[in-house]
Symmetry: C2
Subunit: 444 residues, 2 copies
């Protein structure tokens, strides 16, 4: 099946409907082109709040909206929900759905994002799921809630203790935010609901292989975040390299930490789609792009977002941290790259030369817990309650759509005032238990 | 593992945390007993609104709340999330989780509800899923939304037509409500979002084996509902017995209706748990109970809700319909039965005789679409916009918890005013596609 739409207008295909892909589509709304946005899911997802879905504070619909709803008024844009498997940059065609769908292009924007990297241990994935999609968030939520349910049923104190030990691996913003919210839920939200176990005995460990938490933030903020996490009761361990994960424990060097619930927030690898492009990649599988974000030798193909390794131009506002030479893997950066790719396509149609991409640093925030956050705006930093309120405000404003903003605002207000969460549901215990059992076989 | 809680107080075990089970637990809040409520899920579910989750209008968290949250203040109640597999009425023990959990009882309330009955065609289940749980609702929602997505990708008009044909089997309240909302979504909500297909061409068929829709309602209301459904564009067929379901079509007698999406709302069968009780059952597998809702010969065991066949007492307000001799399978009836079982347990402890259960008919409502509903209160009936508003009000009030009421109220208001739905998400396309493929093998 080939989508042979009769059209003389240039065909722009965008692979991936995240921050970068959607912004690229919107940037082409007035261009004389036919845009086809292809995504594996039917929705745009506000990933920075995914950990709040994973912990039952928000519902999936609070942070996601159907992609075709967001583009319904853009008449030159079409949305296809399909699983892109490969790109043929010579034949200029995108292949999806087991070869049943072929979408030819004149211009291509590749924005498939990243998946987790388990550093050569793919068998850890089922034992320590990560957090990229709504399905991931449901899986994390079920594992977290099922651990308490199973502990309440258990008569064995050692088993109860292992069930009430939660390990988060990786202390970037996602790991910090996840580790920070877990003790608050255990100690405040569900404290009164159990009869046999004491949820306040739940232990949360945050394991970071590097020397400190939040490596992309300035050192003073990282130290503050570390202290704030410890105040919340999180056992933070830096320089803690995980050597083994089994269904019963996580090992850090010689130490074996009995646990049944491990969450992965440690590493990213670009989508395997990048390989089919035949481009040069860095260690994380990201395509090394030109200064205009196009692929070397392929000015009609742009790679953006987490799938791109784009060098920062000298003289711009560089973020602090160990890898200052690359555009950081942030939502704001992906959006800027998407807008840039759209502009370069328009310039090509107007026979104008491409321009280099310049990253504008809008700052970076991480929430640690109730009234606790850190924010780095380059020229200044903030912490504590003011950073917490800034985080809430910024994330509310970044949400797409009035409905989501109202809904998330109400959920946050409700949770803040009542210490109750709205979405603490286990809908598929069997799928989670089956995944754990499969992990049992492969990892045990 | 045995739950050997040291206690001299009588142990009451409740199997199932639906309308009946929760009400039984609450009815025992002041009784000198230890209550254990066991449910397969971790939440109480307001099933009458499940079809709105299935169609993307509401989120799961809008109509469900954690059972242990609802019972957190009832200190004599404990909640266990476990899969009850059998009941030994002689040894007075409930077995769950593959025999790993055994819960002894002195008094037992059995409220496991019903599952779908496929009338001797279990292979139809994967091809035509029903609607009882949140997982079911997600599956229906995904099938409905994926059909539009697949139609947009298809270049074959016959395939597109089959993909845009939706068949609902069974015209009780669930089937009527589901069939009524589908054309509204296709014609109004997602009308502007597609480029290749015209969602207003979507066809909805409602197939009923009996002579009319809403068989439990008075004939005049059923006729009104039938006309209202046709006004909405639903192709309503009564006396239409389904003879085959395949991945590509539904057959009614000689007629073959090409479709890829079939929903089942036709028949119920009591939980298979009832068989392990060794009780006499009716054709639907429901336990035939005494007038006090206890099992014959087992005054310490009560069966309530959809799992019980309880005879209506003569002289009470009998509902209209073909089976007036049984207490109807309504939420209100299950709640009344749960409260009665709790009272009878208290009376036993007080050495007082049991009393017969009398059903109080609170009426029955079915919504058909925007401003269209029918309501039967026995002594009078209402239709149209007034019934629609009554339905909204009654269901808002019946929802458990302030949070859910506010949330559902806002979602309804938003959808009514904007013709937009908040939760049109496909989170697990692969699981739905896998289920369909499996259906392919078993049914094709």
């Amino acid at each position: 099946m080939t989508t042979a739409t009769p059209s003389r207008r240039p065909r722009v295909v965008i692979v991936g409907g995240g921050f970068g892909g959607l912004e690229a589509a919107r940037g082409l709304r007035k261009a004389p082109v036919d845009v086809t946005l292809i995504d594996r899911t039917n929705h745009y997802l506000f990933q920075p709040l995914l950990y709040q879905v994973a912990t039952g504070l928000l519902s999936p619909a609070d942070i996601a909206a159907p992609t075709r709803f967001l583009l319904r008024r853009q008449k030159n844009a079409k949305v296809l929900m399909a699983d892109v498997e490969s790109i043929d940059p010579v034949g200029r065609v995108v292949r999806a759905d087991g070869g049943r769908l072929e979408v030819p292009y004149d211009y291509l924007v590749v924005a498939p994002g990243a998946r987790h990297s388990y550093f050569g241990h793919p068998e850890w994935e089922r034992l320590a799921p990560g957090l990229k999609t709504l399905a991931d968030a449901r899986e994390l939520r079920q594992r977290f809630l099922l651990a308490f349910e199973d502990a309440e049923k258990s008569a064995d104190p050692a088993e109860q203790k292992a069930l009430l030990t939660f390990v988060v691996i990786g202390a970037g913003p996602t790991g910090v935010e996840l580790a920070g919210i877990l003790p608050e839920i255990a100690h405040r939200v569900i404290r009164t609901e159990f009869r046999r176990i004491d949820p306040t005995q739940a232990r949360v460990l945050l394991l970071e292989g590097g020397p400190r938490v939040l490596p992309a933030f300035p050192e003073a903020l990282a130290e503050r975040a570390h202290r704030d996490l410890e105040k919340l009761g999180v056992d933070v361990r830096t320089g803690a390299l995980v050597t083994a994960i089994t269904p019963d424990a996580v090992s850090v060097g010689e130490e074996r930490i009995p646990t049944r619930t491990v969450f992965w927030a440690a590493g990213n690898a670009a989508s395997p789609l990048i390989r089919s492009l035949g481009a040069k990649t860095d260690r994380a599988g990201r395509a090394l792009v030109e200064s205009d974000l196009s692929l070397p030798g392929r000015p009609e193909v742009f790679v953006i977002g987490d799938a791109a390794a784009a060098a920062l131009l000298p003289g711009v506002d560089l973020p602090a941290g160990p890898s200052p030479q690359w555009v950081p893997g942030l939502a704001a950066a992906a959006e800027q790259m998407g807008a840039h790719a759209a502009k370069m396509i328009v310039r090509t149609l107007e026979n104008q030369p491409h321009r280099p991409f310049t990253y504008r640093n809008r700052g970076e925030l991480a929430i640690i817990g109730r009234n606790k956050a850190v924010a780095n705006f380059g020229k200044f930093t903030i912490t504590g309650r003011f950073a917490f309120l800034t985080w809430l405000f910024v994330h509310l404003m970044l949400l797409v759509g009035f409905r989501n903003r109202v809904s998330v605002f109400l959920e946050w207000g409700y949770a803040y005032l009542t210490y109750r969460l709205g979405a603490r549901l286990i809908t598929d215990p069997e799928s989670t238990r089956a995944a754990r059992r499969a992990g049992d076989r492969s990892g045990g």
